[in-house]
């Protein structure tokens, strides 16, 4: 970790980032990723991963329960649509704030332990929330069906201004419909703000202290820092990012289901962060993009498509190749995901960012280096 960039460099970073994000529909077109639904996903999961990285990347605390906050954000947003208004702004604010409150509660308890105990505590809380959402909380969550908009919803604020139309209303930002590109641009703006805050935190004294906690928590105590409030603040901030992502999901598609809270969903954000590069600024965002992009492509493949791809091969070979690859696509996308997970953790614990760095140094200084299982990873304290 080098000395933080100067405020000037910070400004340049955010400017480049803003342009890159807003121009995504242009530069992602050649790889077939420039359509609103997918772009929205990039932005939303990017926010989720950036927030997760503030906890895991800076403090080293691995939460396996962040999906719970995602779920809380989604449910809150849908309720805001049902009760108050179809405007996404209050929905997003309520979703973030409520997820933050929820994170205070869970964080306060879970952070009394560290290492794997912390992981298991957060997992336990997330599972509790998931189970409750499916059972006793059905009046709030609508159980297995999921929470949806209905014709009978009061929508107090909206009903003061306009007559309810015939069909289900759609989410808006002061009249602008939040589907398609407007939806993406709304998410993109939120993403840019989220990235900016994360950048600020990374380069601040606060961020430096979080990194120091990750590096050596014992020393932090003898250095005069009370580490628990630092960890709690980091936990709550990252919980709020998750809530924000969850409410944006609802803003672009107004429904919420308990499966968003399942621990496999927590696992997904962990994977995004790891894949991109834990503790790096841009890594989690890259990870989220790569995973959502390939999920999109891979799950649309089936055997016919594969046969077309490998048509040039001799027939028996073609059949064999298709038989193997078909395991990894379509329904089998999760197999690819799992394999990727392992490969990254084993061979490239620094993720894409680390890979790019190595590639760069390889190009600039062409020395042969061997990378294998035994990377020089310092074992973290638990």
């Amino acid at each position: 970790m080098s000395v933080s960039p100067s405020p000037k460099k910070e400004l340049a970073t955010i400017a480049i980032f803003t342009v890159a994000v807003l121009a995504m529909p242009i530069w992602l077109a050649p790889i077939g990723a420039a359509y609103p639904d997918l772009l929205q996903k990039f932005a939303i999961f990017g926010i989720f991963a950036i927030g997760f990285n503030i906890l895991f990347g800076l403090t080293g605390y691995l939460s396996f329960g962040h999906a719970a906050f995602l779920g809380v954000g989604s449910y809150t947003a849908v309720w805001s649509f049902k009760l108050l208004t179809m405007n996404v702004l209050p929905a997003v604010i309520f979703g973030t704030v409520l997820a933050g409150l929820f994170a205070v509660l869970i964080g306060y308890v879970s952070l009394r332990r560290s290492g794997i105990y912390f992981s298991i505590l957060t997992l336990a809380f997330a599972q509790m929330s998931y189970n409750l959402a499916y059972s006793v909380l059905t009046p709030i969550t609508n159980g297995e069906t999921g929470l949806q908009l209905t014709q009978q919803d009061p929508r107090i604020i909206d009903s003061m201004f306009v007559e309810a139309g015939a069909g289900l209303p759609s989410t808006t930002l002061f009249g602008l419909k939040m589907s398609g590109y407007p939806g993406f641009y709304f998410c993109a703006v939120v993403l840019i703000i989220g990235f900016w805050i994360s950048l600020k935190i990374f380069n601040s004294p606060f961020g430096m202290k979080l990194k120091a906690i990750k590096s050596n928590q014992t020393r932090m105590g003898y250095t005069g820092f009370n580490t628990r409030p630092y960890l709690l603040v980091a936990f709550v901030i990252s919980g709020m990012y998750a809530g924000l992502a969850g409410s944006l999901m609802a803003a672009t598609d107004p429904l919420a289901g308990a499966e968003r809270m399942q621990w496999t969903a927590s696992g997904e954000v962990v994977l995004m962060t790891i894949l991109g590069g834990v503790g790096t600024l841009i890594g989690p965002l890259l990870g989220a993009g790569v995973i959502k992009y390939f999920e999109n492509i891979f799950s649309s493949y089936n055997e016919n498509v594969l046969h077309q791809i490998f048509a040039a091969l001799p027939d028996p070979l073609e059949d064999a190749v298709v038989a193997v690859t078909s395991l990894f696509v379509g329904e089998g996308w999760h197999l690819t995901l799992g394999t990727l997970f392992m490969v990254i953790v084993i061979f490239l614990p620094g993720g894409i960012v680390e890979g790019a760095r190595r590639l760069k140094s390889l190009v600039l200084r062409p020395t042969v280096r061997k990378y294998g299982f035994k990377t020089d990873q310092p074992t973290t304290r638990s």
Partner: protein, 338 residues
């Protein structure tokens, strides 16, 4: 009274499964220092040993159905039945117990391959890395199973003789109304035997002694010139077999599907934490204890007082235990503490 007795039994057999999985988790954690998130997938693979064997044994031929005389009717008849008659039919009927013989070598191979091929490279890595890589492995294993067997649960039945329920009420003087499925009783007994076996192995063999010493102080045992590496492989294999057997025997209780492992894993981890990380006795005790607690909390009378308690009781207990007694019920000092 009857209801309470039944709930205890109910809890104990589920607790048996928790205990068996938690035992393996603890064994691996205590000796190898590895947090294995793929352990639940091993439980699931054990269950799918039964499914595989059942599929193989019931490979059938279309034959004319002699019981229908008006027209030519066909039915599927397993080759085993055609070739061996009643013996063949009995083999198919006893598919679950027979699977044990199949599962032991298979799970042993899986376990050894996993330890040699992956886990050993993670002894010195951070726990977070161990969690992540085994989590990835768990996904891979369950997706492979899914691509072969589909996503739906596959029913497996217990042998015919024990398919019914035992009138245990009259045995313990509670009246004939109290009945309990035979197979669940067998499962309870089976988990008891396996647990006893593992403890006896660790307690009374020199091999087990070294393993226990390794759990107490890995580095010192390594320094004694004992090839701790090979023993670790065996321990991992043992844990794998125990998880597999737990899965095999559980199939008649719960039709196996590809993600059953994950569900049991999360719960078993909680069990391990409640019992005390690194304590075998704690894992077993907590397994049974939480099983019974869960079963009690799902009684209608309890749910009427605290709705939804059955869904969260185990996690709630874990949270409370971790906060008031961080080492768990029987945890040793210094395990996993900074």
């Amino acid at each position: 009274m009857d209801a309470i007795f039944l709930q205890i039994l109910n809890g104990l057999d589920k607790g048996g499964a928790y205990a068996l999985i938690a035992l393996g988790l603890t064994l691996v954690f205590g000796t190898l220092g590895v947090v294995n998130f793929a352990h639940g997938a091993l439980f699931m693979m054990g269950a799918f040993c039964v499914v595989t064997l059942q599929k193989v044994l019931t490979i059938a031929k279309r034959v004319k159905d002699p019981s229908v005389t008006f027209f030519d009717a066909y039915k599927e008849q397993p080759y085993l039945e055609i070739w061996f008659g009643d013996t063949g039919r009995a083999i198919i009927d006893y598919v679950v117990p027979i699977s044990i013989l199949l599962a032991i070598p298979i799970m042993l191979i899986v376990g050894v391959a996993m330890e040699r091929g992956l886990i050993r490279y993670f002894y010195k890595r951070a726990h977070a890395d161990q969690i992540l890589v085994t989590f990835g492995l768990a996904i891979v294993l369950q997706e492979i199973i899914k691509s072969f067997f589909g996503a739906n649960p596959i029913p497996v039945s217990a042998p015919h003789v024990v398919a019914g329920s035992a009138a245990i009420g009259s045995l313990v003087g509670l009246g004939d109304a109290v009945v309990y499925p035979w197979w669940r009783l067998i499962y309870l007994l089976f988990s008891g035997v396996v647990i006893f076996g593992v403890f006896a192995f660790l307690q009374y063999t020199t091999y087990g002694m070294v393993v226990r010493a390794g759990m107490a102080d890995r580095e010192t045992v390594g320094l004694l010139g004992i090839n701790i590496q090979r023993r670790f492989t065996i321990v991992f294999g043992l844990a794998t077999v125990v998880a597999g057997l737990a899965g095999v025997m559980y199939t008649p209780v719960l039709p196996p599907d590809y993600h059953m492992g994950m569900e049991f894993l999360v719960l078993s981890f909680v069990v391990v934490v409640v019992g005390g990380m690194g304590s075998l006795g704690g894992a077993v005790t907590a397994g049974f204890l939480l099983g019974v607690l869960q079963s009690f909390s799902s009684m209608t009378e309890v749910k009427a007082i605290i709705p939804g308690i059955d869904q969260i009781i185990i996690y709630l207990v874990a949270v409370v235990i971790l906060l008031v007694r961080p080492r768990g019920l029987m945890g040793r000092k210094g395990v996993m503490e900074s």
